[in-house]
């Protein structure tokens, strides 16, 4: 099956993008992920992106698989190969095909008169499906596998890997796996008999780059990281694209968090009536000494605003995942953005500042999943983790998850014996008393039976002993301490990642999943002779390194997926003296950022600078 791939002089090997266009609810995702998994198993770097409507059935959906020998995972703007299985979108879809690309479509479709390629092949889907050697009523379920086989045959995807991917998907359901593979084989046979592979410019060849790597989506990684962080209480309200952070827990908690001695659970998950309640519950639990978290997206985060101020001010550790989608309002529920940052940074009224983590890969989703608790409990404050739909809901390859490399830090909690000892030593305890001079007080939690341990928490003004107070000085001192405490976060949060190129005079700053296209854009710019240094912010508050980076460069482009340049705004507030050197490079249209777009903008701008 691979004999001819080296014979054609024009083959593009392991470097192209396949787009599948389907109808929502037709089971195409099994077929499409099969292709992705098979490629991954051949050792070739892949990334998959699902573009889906806010609808359950009947509307168009697209899945793209990018194959990249260089390991680039970002989105690309054009398709090299298209598998068109939705008549309604064909005319629009083909506009995104690169000239000379490969198009496979259902033979029954009426196709546009002119196509940008001569390599367009109609697959007789209906005939092939009807000929399948399986029960009639089951045929439609496996129909999509026919095009998987056709594609595998044309691109040189190993059919054994296809079989493996199918088996993985159907875990133990041998009959289903067999039927699906049978359909794929039929497709492959048809392609071999009807299409001359030599004419196809794209091909894959096994590599070994992905050996030892895993495939996982960011939400699942977040969920697992949270579980390894020892989460004890979860409350949530369903919302795309955050729901499966919690739904994955229902799968993994019974596996990982059953007490070995008793077989009973060490974590509870409660579906709340709304996000107000979800946050209320985790504040209660966090106050009670549990590691508590929730996951939400924009609209839910808006509802959590008042409670996040309470948690900040009453100094209650909680972890909130915000898997961002496009706002304002209900916006585009199934499209990606990085547009909650400004809102989250100071969410809630009054002088509130929040600690924010920004994962840029599945590995960071996992790592920040557990680390968020250590930071929240150490600082006794909410930690918000800002992921996004692109990172959260799509499968990404990454290194295997690493077991947490530091023990759980439960922060400053006093139990009965501690209070007893403090009392004996004549050491004074007050819930908000800064004993250690680091602005972080000691806390006790309900259930502590020592009569000296109790206190009354509140969102109203309070003194160091948690007593109600309207005293101006007390208020001022408390808020000043909270500010000092917030600054302590700098030493605890993940530091920015900096990558430099020789003689770079311009910098790029980004955050979160936009990291993926930025790396690629830097290579493209370097090829054009523009060297760049790169800093990826991974947390708020900013550390000095971020400010230094702005200072060091003539210009710094801040790349992000929103309209207003929210990170740029925060950087401006942080270091107004360097703000004149910042260039906003942001957009939001529902789609993930591409390297092409970034490169083009910077190229134009830099060219203008030199002209």
């Amino acid at each position: 099956m691979q004999e001819d791939s080296t014979q054609s002089p024009h083959k593009i090997i392991n470097d192209f993008c396949v787009m599948f266009s389907n109808i929502n609810g037709t089971g195409s995702s099994t077929a499409n992920t099969t292709v992705m998994r098979a490629l991954f198993e051949m050792g070739i770097p892949v990334s998959g992106r699902n573009l889906f409507p806010s609808n359950i059935k009947g509307l168009p959906t697209w899945f793209t698989v990018r194959v990249s020998k260089d390991g680039y995972l970002g989105r690309v703007e054009r398709d090299h190969v298209q598998v068109l299985m939705n008549q309604d979108t064909v005319a629009e879809d083909v506009k995104k095909l690169v000239p000379g690309g490969l198009v496979l479509y259902d033979e029954a479709f009426s196709m546009p008169e002119t196509l940008p390629t001569s390599l367009a092949f109609g697959i007789p889907m209906e005939t092939l499906i009807n000929e399948l050697d399986i029960e009639k009523r089951l045929r439609s379920y496996v129909g999509n596998m026919v095009y998987v086989g056709v594609l595998a045959s044309l691109l040189g995807i190993d059919m054994e890997r296809v079989a493996g991917a199918i088996e993985f998907h159907f875990k133990g359901k041998t009959e289903a796996a067999k039927m699906n593979f049978h359909a794929a084989q039929r497709g492959a046979e048809w392609a071999q008999a009807n299409i001359d592979r030599i004419a196809i410019p794209y091909t894959v060849e096994p590599m070994h780059i992905t050996d030892g790597y895993i495939l996982c989506d960011g939400n699942r990684a977040a969920s697992l990281g949270t579980i390894y962080g020892g989460v004890q209480f979860v409350s949530w309200y369903p919302i795309t694209p955050a729901s499966n952070v919690i739904e994955e827990m229902n799968e993994f908690l019974p596996m990982l968090r059953k007490d070995p001695e008793t077989g009973r659970m060490t974590c509870a998950v409660v579906q709340a009536e709304d996000e107000l309640s979800a946050l209320g519950m985790i504040i209660g639990a966090g106050w009670g000494g549990l590691r508590a978290m929730t996951a939400t997206s924009g609209p839910g985060l808006s509802l959590m605003a008042e409670h996040l101020g309470l948690a900040y001010f009453a100094e209650v550790p909680v972890v909130v995942w915000d898997v961002q989608r496009v706002g304002p309002s209900t916006g585009l529920p199934t499209r990606t953005a990085q547009n909650d940052l400004l809102f989250a940074a100071n969410i809630s009224h009054g002088d509130t500042e929040q600690v924010i983590l920004m994962p840029g890969s599945i590995n960071e989703c996992f790592e920040f999943g557990w680390k968020a608790f250590d930071i929240a409990e150490r600082l006794q404050t909410p930690v918000l983790v800002m992921s996004d739909l692109d990172l959260g809901m799509n499968p990404w390859m990454g290194k295997p998850f690493q077991y947490p490399d530091t023990p759980m830090d439960r922060g400053k909690v006093l139990w009965e014996e501690d209070i007893e000892r403090w009392t004996k030593e004549g050491k004074l305890w007050g819930r908000y008393l800064d004993v250690d001079g680091d602005a972080i007080p000691y806390r006790t939690v309900p259930g502590n039976r020592h009569p000296g341990a109790t206190y009354f928490a509140r969102g109203t003004g309070h003194d160091e002993f948690a007593r109600y107070s309207e005293d101006p000085q007390v208020w001022q001192d408390n808020l000043a301490r909270l500010k000092r405490k917030y600054r302590q976060a700098r030493a605890l949060v993940p530091q920015p990642i900096v990558e430099r190129q020789k003689n770079a005079r311009i910098g790029i700053i980004t955050w979160g999943s936009t990291h993926m296209p930025v790396g690629e854009a830097r290579d493209q710019l370097a090829a054009k002779g523009i060297a760049t240094d790169y800093l990826r912010v991974r947390a708020l508050p900013f550390t000095m390194e971020v400010v230094d980076f702005m200072q060091e460069h003539d210009r710094t482009y801040v790349v992000e997926l929103n309209r207003d340049g929210q990170m740029k705004e925060l950087l401006t507030l942080e270091a107004p003296q360097h703000a004149y050197k910042l260039r906003q490079l942001s957009k939001v249209d529902g789609l993930a950022m591409t390297a092409e777009w970034i490169t083009q903008r910077i190229w134009e701008d830099e060219d203008g600078c030199h002209a």
Partner: protein
């Protein structure tokens, strides 16, 4: 004379709160007074009680009782969620939530109804004065239609009945009482603190500063004149049952709670069965029709599973689990990575 103590050697003073800043004569004072007495008489350790509240005069009230216990005064209308989450931390504690009619029936009606259906073991007591006290006299969801306030005009809408809402939401213990009937209130509170699920007590608790109008339900005068107790009520703790006196057959109904303590309901003029939801709705409906204040134990089902019966959690308090029992073992990570394809 030696100071009087309860069975665990505590004095009444051990159940006191911080200095009270409510108005003199405010119904909420009577409520916290009865809560303190009930806790004293039930021999509860203050450190094993947790107080929760929202925002309002009624929600401030918990500060003025049980100073030696933990407490959390959260957001307006959001006490239920805060309390529910906190209760998961240590399931052996006694939980007292105190709220107002605005806090519960206006801004917080959603959370209120959901905590009822979740049925956690807590006393949920409402100081229902038919007005917003703390913000100085606006209409609440329980203000009767047609009532006029100085700066608000006339209330246009029909009120919400908190007991009816609780019942409809499957609360397992629903009672109504009156701040001017301390004896009944205390018995109800005691029973509520022993009930294994949520116990809602809607207490008519007049606001002397903004709405103690004699012709309206939420006033001392009206309530006194129109109170119709469903029964005479006595709570008998598990260890005191030997003292139960015999009543004439047919005049007393005993309701056994989950811990075997008993609520003795002595019949007054009519037969009333508080274990019938149907009768409960009927009695509330009739009371409203006749503008009467029906008080007593309106409904109880001692056996509905509580929140925690619905989770298979480890026995000991979750907040005392060591790190070793929370973080999965190192070996498990390889197995997890194998699954990631």
């Amino acid at each position: 004379m030696p100071d009087e103590t309860n069975d665990i050697g505590l004095e009444r003073a051990d159940y006191q709160g911080s200095p009270n800043t409510l108005c003199k004569g405010c119904g909420h004072n009577a409520i916290i007074g009865q809560i303190m007495s009930a806790c004293y008489e039930l021999n509860l350790r203050p450190e094993e009680i947790v107080r929760y509240s929202g925002i309002g005069c009624s929600s401030k009230a918990p500060t003025y009782m049980l100073k030696r216990s933990f407490g959390f005064n959260g957001l307006h209308g959001r006490m239920p969620s805060l309390a529910l989450g906190a209760m998961f931390a240590d399931r052996t504690l006694t939980n007292i939530g105190m709220s107002g009619d605005g806090d519960t029936a206006s801004i917080g009606i959603g959370q209120f109804k959901h905590i009822c259906r979740r049925n956690p073991p807590m006393l949920y007591i409402v100081g229902n004065n038919g007005v917003y006290g703390l913000t100085k006299g606006q209409f609440s969801a329980t203000t009767e239609a047609g009532v006029s306030f100085k700066r608000q005009g006339t209330s246009r809408y029909l009120p919400v009945d908190i007991c009816m809402e609780a019942l409809a939401s499957n609360a397992s213990f629903v009672a109504r009482s009156f701040a001017g009937d301390p004896k009944q209130l205390r018995q109800l509170i005691k029973a509520a603190l022993r009930h294994q699920g949520i116990s809602v007590i809607d207490v008519i608790s007049p606001c002397v500063s903004f709405y103690n109008f004699a012709k309206n339900l939420h006033s001392y005068e009206y309530a006194r004149e129109h109170e119709i107790p469903l029964h005479e009520l006595e709570f008998v703790p598990t260890d005191h049952q030997i003292m139960i006196k015999d009543f004439e057959a047919g005049t007393v109904r005993n309701v056994k709670l989950h811990d075997d303590s008993i609520i003795r309901l002595k019949k007054l003029d009519k037969e009333y069965d508080p274990t019938s939801r149907w009768q409960a709705f009927k009695v509330l409906e009739e009371a409203e029709e006749h503008h009467q204040l029906v008080t007593g134990l309106i409904y109880v089902d001692p056996d509905i599973p509580s929140t925690f019966d619905r989770y298979d959690l480890v026995e000991e308090p979750l907040n005392r689990l060591g790190n070793g029992r929370l973080r999965p073992p190192r070996e498990s990570i390889d197995q997890i990575n194998q699954m990631m394809l």
